[in-house]
C-alpha cells in the first residue's frame, strides 16, 4: 500500500495568531498511494495546517519537505506548480464558464498569445476521461451538480502532474450517491500513486476510504494511526481528548424522574423538522421542567437543531405543536411569542450588541417582544437589570457600561439575563459554558437546575458530556447531522454510552453508504 519513503513531511510546525496558538509542534507525513485523513474538531488546527502546507500562511517554526527536499511555498499557485494541489471546501470555480475553461483557466495552451480552444477542449476531455467522467466540456459548469463540479475541481488540480492532492471537506455538500462517485475517483487516483490528504467531519467516510488517520486537538498533534488499528470509539476519544475511565469517574448526580416529567402534553413537540444541508429531519418533545441535553461532536448539527427550534432558520417541513396545539416556528420573533429563548453559541456575532450598554442588552428581547411603541419604563428596567446583575453576579456591576467592556463570561451572563427577563417557557442554551471560567460555569449549571425545578424547559447543548449528563433528564445524540438517539438519563446512561452512540450511532443508517 505505501512506499517506505513519504512524499511529504511536515516537522515541528508551529503557528500563532494574535492571542491564539493555532498549531504547536505538529508533525505530519504523507505517503504516496495512500488516503490520509486529517481529523479533529472545529478549531483543532486542520485548516491552519493545510494553509501552512500550501503557503497561504508562513510557519513560525518547523520544516516541510517534498520528496526529501525542503520546500517553503509562498502561495497555493506555487504549491500547485510543485505538485501539491488543493481543492478547497467551497468549490472556487466559475459556474458561468464552461467545464473546459474552468479546468484550464489561467494556463490555457496558447499560440502567439491566442488561446487554442480546440486544444483546451481536447485536453479537458482527455483529463475527464481519466476520471471516467463523460461531460460536455463546452457546457457551463453551473449546469452540472455540485458533485460533478467538485470532480471538475479535482480534474483541474491533478492536471498539473500532482503528486499530493489535498481535499478539504469535499463531501460536506454532497449526497450519498455523489460521495460514492467521489470516493471511486479518490481510490483510482490513490492507485495511480497520488497521495491524498482528506479532511472531513464524517466518521463513516473516514473508515470507508482512509488508510491512515492523523488526529489534531487544540492545535497539537494527538497521533498518527492506521485506520484498521483505531476503532471509531477511540478516534472520538482522541478528538475530544477525554479517556473513558476519566469520564467514568464523574460522580452520579441525582437522576430525575423522566417518566413523571413526560406525563401530560409536551410543551413543544416537533416532528420531522429538518433543513437540507444543515440537519436531517428529526422529532423531539420537550416537557415543562425538563432539561434535554444535546450531545455530539462540533459540526454534528447541534446548533442547527437549536436554530430550527428557535425559528432562526426555517424548517423544510414537519410539524410543531406547542401545548398540544399545532403552531409554527418560522421566525425568532414568533418563537419568542411562544415563550422560547435562545442563547447562541456565537456570543459576539449573534448574541451581544457590543455598542449598547449592559442594561440595553439585557432588556432587548423583552423590549422587542413589546414593540418599540411600548417602552419598558425606566424604573422597571432598572429593577430587572439590578435583579439579574445581582443574581448572576455580573461584573462590573455598572449596567451603563457598554457590554463590549465585559469579559466573555460576564457577556454570557448578560445574554442569559436577556432571556431570563422574558420569562421563557423553553430556553435553548447553545454552549453556554464554553470559554468561560470554572466559577461562572458552575453558576450557570446551578442556574439551569434551578430554572428547571421552577418549571422551565431547557435545551442544553454542550460539547462536555459531564455537563450534559449532570443536568439533563434526557440526552439527544447528534451524529453526522442526524439525531441518532434519544436516551433517558437513568442509571444505565453514562459518558461511555453517549460516546459509543456518537461514534457508531445507535442504529446504523444505511443511507450513509
Amino acid at each position: 500500500m505505501t512506499d517506505s519513503r513519504p512524499v511529504l513531511t511536515m516537522t515541528g510546525i508551529s503557528k500563532s495568531f494574535p492571542g491564539v496558538r493555532a498549531l504547536h509542534d505538529v508533525n505530519f507525513r504523507l505517503f504516496p498511494g495512500e488516503v490520509h485523513a486529517l481529523m479533529g474538531e472545529n478549531g483543532a488546527g486542520k485548516s491552519t495546517l493545510i494553509k501552512v502546507l500550501t503557503g497561504v500562511y508562513d510557519t513560525d517554526e518547523g520544516a516541510i519537505t517534498l520528496d526529501g527536499e525542503p520546500v517553503s511555498f509562498t502561495g497555493p499557485m506555487q504549491a500547485t506548480a510543485a505538485g501539491v494541489s488543493t481543492v478547497f471546501q467551497e468549490v472556487n470555480l466559475c459556474t458561468n464558464l464552461s467545464v473546459a475553461e474552468n479546468i484550464f483557466i489561467g494556463r490555457e495552451p496558447r499560440v502567439f498569445g491566442a488561446v487554442r480552444w480546440g486544444e483546451v477542449r481536447r485536453r479537458a476531455r482527455a483529463l475527464l476521461a481519466r476520471l471516467d467522467l463523460d461531460l460536455d466540456v463546452s457546457a457551463p459548469l453551473g449546469s452540472y451538480s455540485l458533485a460533478i463540479q467538485q470532480m471538475v475541481a479535482i480534474a483541474r488540480a491533478i492536471d498539473i502532474k500532482a503528486r499530493v492532492l489535498i481535499l478539504d471537506e469535499p463531501t460536506s455538500s454532497l449526497d450519498a450517491g455523489e460521495v460514492a462517485q467521489l470516493f471511486r475517483i479518490m481510490r483510482q487516483l490513490r492507485d495511480e500513486g497520488i497521495a491524498i490528504l482528506f479532511v472531513t467531519h464524517f466518521l463513516d467516510q473516514v473508515y470507508e476510504i482512509a488508510d491512515r488517520i492523523t488526529v489534531l486537538r487544540n492545535g497539537g498533534l494527538v497521533g498518527e494511526y492506521l485506520t484498521t488499528e483505531l476503532p471509531q470509539l477511540s478516534l472520538v476519544e482522541k478528538m475530544i481528548g477525554k479517556e473513558l475511565d476519566v469520564l467514568e469517574g464523574i460522580e452520579e448526580h441525582s437522576r430525575r424522574d423522566l417518566a413523571a416529567l413526560e406525563e401530560g402534553t409536551p410543551l413543544v413537540a416537533v416532528s420531522n423538522f429538518g433543513r437540507a444541508g444543515a440537519v436531517e429531519p428529526f422529532s423531539l418533545t420537550i416537557h415543562a421542567g425538563e432539561v434535554v441535553g444535546l450531545a455530539g461532536l462540533l459540526g454534528s448539527g447541534r446548533t442547527e437543531v437549536a436554530r430550527l427550534l428557535f425559528g432562526a432558520d426555517r424548517t423544510d417541513g414537519g410539524q410543531v405543536a406547542i401545548d398540544g396545539t399545532a403552531s409554527s416556528l418560522r421566525t425568532p420573533a414568533q418563537a419568542i411569542d411562544h415563550g422560547v429563548g435562545f442563547c447562541s453559541e456565537n456570543r459576539r456575532a449573534e448574541g451581544i450588541v457590543a455598542d449598547l450598554s449592559v442594561r440595553e442588552n439585557m432588556i432587548l428581547a423583552m423590549q422587542a417582544a413589546r414593540g418599540w411603541l411600548r417602552p419598558i419604563p425606566r424604573r422597571r428596567q432598572d429593577e430587572l437589570v439590578d435583579k439579574y446583575v445581582k443574581a448572576l453576579n455580573i461584573r462590573p456591576a455598572d449596567p451603563e457600561v457598554p457590554v463590549r467592556n465585559l469579559s466573555g463570561g460576564n457577556q454570557q451572563k448578560v445574554l442569559l439575563a436577556r432571556w431570563l427577563i422574558t420569562e421563557p417557557r423553553l430556553l435553548i442554551l447553545d454552549e453556554p459554558t464554553r470559554g468561560i471560567d470554572i466559577g461562572a460555569k458552575t453558576e450557570i449549571q446551578k442556574l439551569v437546575t434551578q430554572l428547571s425545578d421552577g418549571g422551565m424547559a431547557v435545551l442544553f447543548i454542550s460539547a462536555e458530556l459531564e455537563e450534559v449528563l449532570r443536568l439533563s433528564h434526557k440526552v439527544a445524540v447528534m451524529r453526522d447531522r442526524q439525531m441518532v438517539a434519544q436516551l433517558a438519563n437513568d442509571e444505565s446512561l453514562d459518558a461511555d454510552r453517549i460516546m459509543q452512540t456518537i461514534a457508531s450511532g445507535s442504529h446504523r443508517e444505511e443511507a450513509d453508504r
Binding site: 494574535p18 491564539v20 448574541g351 449598547l356 432587548l364 428581547a365
Partner: protein, 356 residues
C-alpha cells in the same frame, strides 16, 4: 488636583467635546479676523447678526441631517434627501401658484400637507426597497436621488415656479420672538425626533439593528419595520427642509433645490459622532455637525475666499475636523509629542483570527 484632572478627562472624553471645540475655534477664528462677527443687534423687534444668520441658514441642513442620523444608525444611508427637498418644495410651490389667493393660510396648509404626503410615500418607497426587498441602501436611494430630480422637473414643468405667498415665505424668513422662525422649526423637529426615538424604544432598537443585525434578529426584533420607519422619517425631515429652502427664495427650482445637501448631511452626522457603520446615534452631535458646516460656508463668504477655491478650503477643514475627532489619530499625535514610540495597537486589528 486629582479632581480637576479627572473632571478635565471627563470633559475631553465626552462625545460632544470635540465637535463643540471645533465649532468654538471656528467662531473664534472668525471673530479675530472680523471683530464684529459675533455681534448681534435688535432692529424692528428682530435680532440680526452673523450668528443668527448661521442658525437660520443651517436650519434646512439640520432637518435633513436629523433624518439622515437615524438612517445611518440602522447601517444604511439615504442619498435621495436632496431630491426629496426639491420634490416637496416643487409640489408645495406648484400647488400654491395655481391658487387664486396665494396668501390664504388654508392654501398653504393644503400645499404643505400635499407635499408631505407625497414625500412620505417616496420615503416608504425607499424603505420598501431597503427593508423589504433588501437592496443595498446606497443603490436603493440612488434610484430616487437620480429619478427624483426628474420628478421635480416634471412637477414644475421644467420651469422655476415663483410664488407670492406671505404665509409660505414665513417658513423660511418669518420671525417669532425676535428670532427667525426657521430656527424654531428646526428646534421643534429636533425635539420631535428626539422624543420619537428616546421616549419610545425606537432609538435603542435602531441602534441595536445597526450595531448587530444578526443578534437583533435573534433577540426577536423585526428589523425591517424599524429600518422602513427610519427612511420614512428621513423623507419627512427632507420634505420640511424642502419647504424652507423654497420659502427662502419664494420659488421652486427642481434642479437647484437641495442640491448636494445629502453630502453635507452625511458629513454633519459623521462629525456629530455617529458611525457610518451604524449603531449608536447622537442627535445633538448631528446638530453641532450641521452648525459647523454652515459656519464653514459662512466663513468662506466672510473671508472673501474666492468661489473657485472655497470648495477646496472646505475640504481641508473637513479633513482636519475628521482627523481631530478620530481617537486613533489623537492618540498617535499626543504620543508623538511625548516622544513615546507609537503603540502597536493603533491599527484596529481583528481581535481573533481563529482558523477553523
Amino acid at each position: 488636583m486629582n479632581d480637576t484632572t479627572s473632571r478635565y478627562r471627563t470633559m475631553i472624553g465626552h462625545r460632544l467635546f470635540w465637535p463643540a471645540a471645533v465649532l468654538f475655534v471656528m467662531l473664534a477664528a472668525n471673530t479675530i479676523y472680523r471683530p464684529g462677527f459675533l455681534s448681534i443687534e435688535l432692529k424692528d423687534g428682530h435680532l440680526y447678526g452673523t450668528p443668527i444668520d448661521i442658525l437660520r441658514l443651517s436650519a434646512p441642513l439640520i432637518l435633513v441631517a436629523l433624518g439622515m442620523t437615524l438612517v445611518i444608525s440602522t447601517g444604511g444611508i439615504d442619498l435621495s434627501v436632496g431630491s426629496l427637498c426639491a420634490i416637496s418644495g416643487a409640489i408645495a410651490c406648484m400647488y400654491i401658484s395655481k391658487q387664486p389667493d396665494q396668501n390664504s393660510l388654508g392654501v398653504v396648509v393644503t400645499a404643505l400637507a400635499l407635499a408631505m404626503g407625497v414625500s412620505l410615500v417616496l420615503g416608504a418607497w425607499n424603505g420598501v426597497l431597503v427593508a423589504v426587498i433588501g437592496i443595498q441602501p446606497i443603490i436603493a436611494t440612488l434610484i430616487l436621488m437620480v429619478a427624483g430630480r426628474g420628478l421635480a422637473q416634471l412637477i414644475t414643468e421644467g420651469q422655476i415656479i415663483t410664488i407670492n405667498s406671505e404665509p409660505y415665505r414665513a417658513i423660511g424668513l418669518g420671525h417669532a420672538l425676535t428670532l427667525p422662525l426657521a430656527i424654531f422649526i428646526a428646534l421643534a423637529a429636533a425635539l420631535l425626533v428626539a422624543a420619537f426615538t428616546r421616549r419610545t424604544a425606537l432609538g435603542m432598537i435602531i441602534e441595536s439593528v445597526g450595531g448587530n443585525a444578526m443578534a437583533s434578529r435573534l433577540a426577536g426584533i423585526r428589523s425591517s419595520r424599524v429600518i422602513f420607519l427610519a427612511y420614512v422619517i428621513s423623507a419627512a425631515c427632507a420634505a420640511v427642509a424642502g419647504f424652507m429652502m423654497t420659502a427662502n427664495v419664494s420659488s421652486a427650482d427642481g434642479n437647484a433645490a437641495g442640491l448636494w445637501v445629502e453630502l453635507d448631511a452625511i458629513l454633519a452626522v459623521v462629525i456629530g459622532g455617529t458611525s457610518l457603520a451604524g449603531g449608536r446615534f447622537f442627535l445633538s452631535g448631528t446638530i453641532i455637525g450641521a452648525l459647523i458646516i454652515q459656519t464653514l460656508t459662512t466663513t468662506v463668504y466672510a473671508m472673501d475666499i474666492s468661489p473657485q477655491t472655497s470648495l477646496l478650503f472646505k475640504a481641508v477643514v473637513v479633513i482636519a475636523v475628521c482627523l481631530i475627532q478620530a481617537p486613533a489619530f489623537r492618540a498617535r499625535f499626543s504620543r508623538r509629542r511625548r516622544n513615546v514610540p507609537p503603540p502597536a495597537t493603533i491599527a484596529d486589528k481583528p481581535k481573533e483570527q481563529v482558523p477553523a
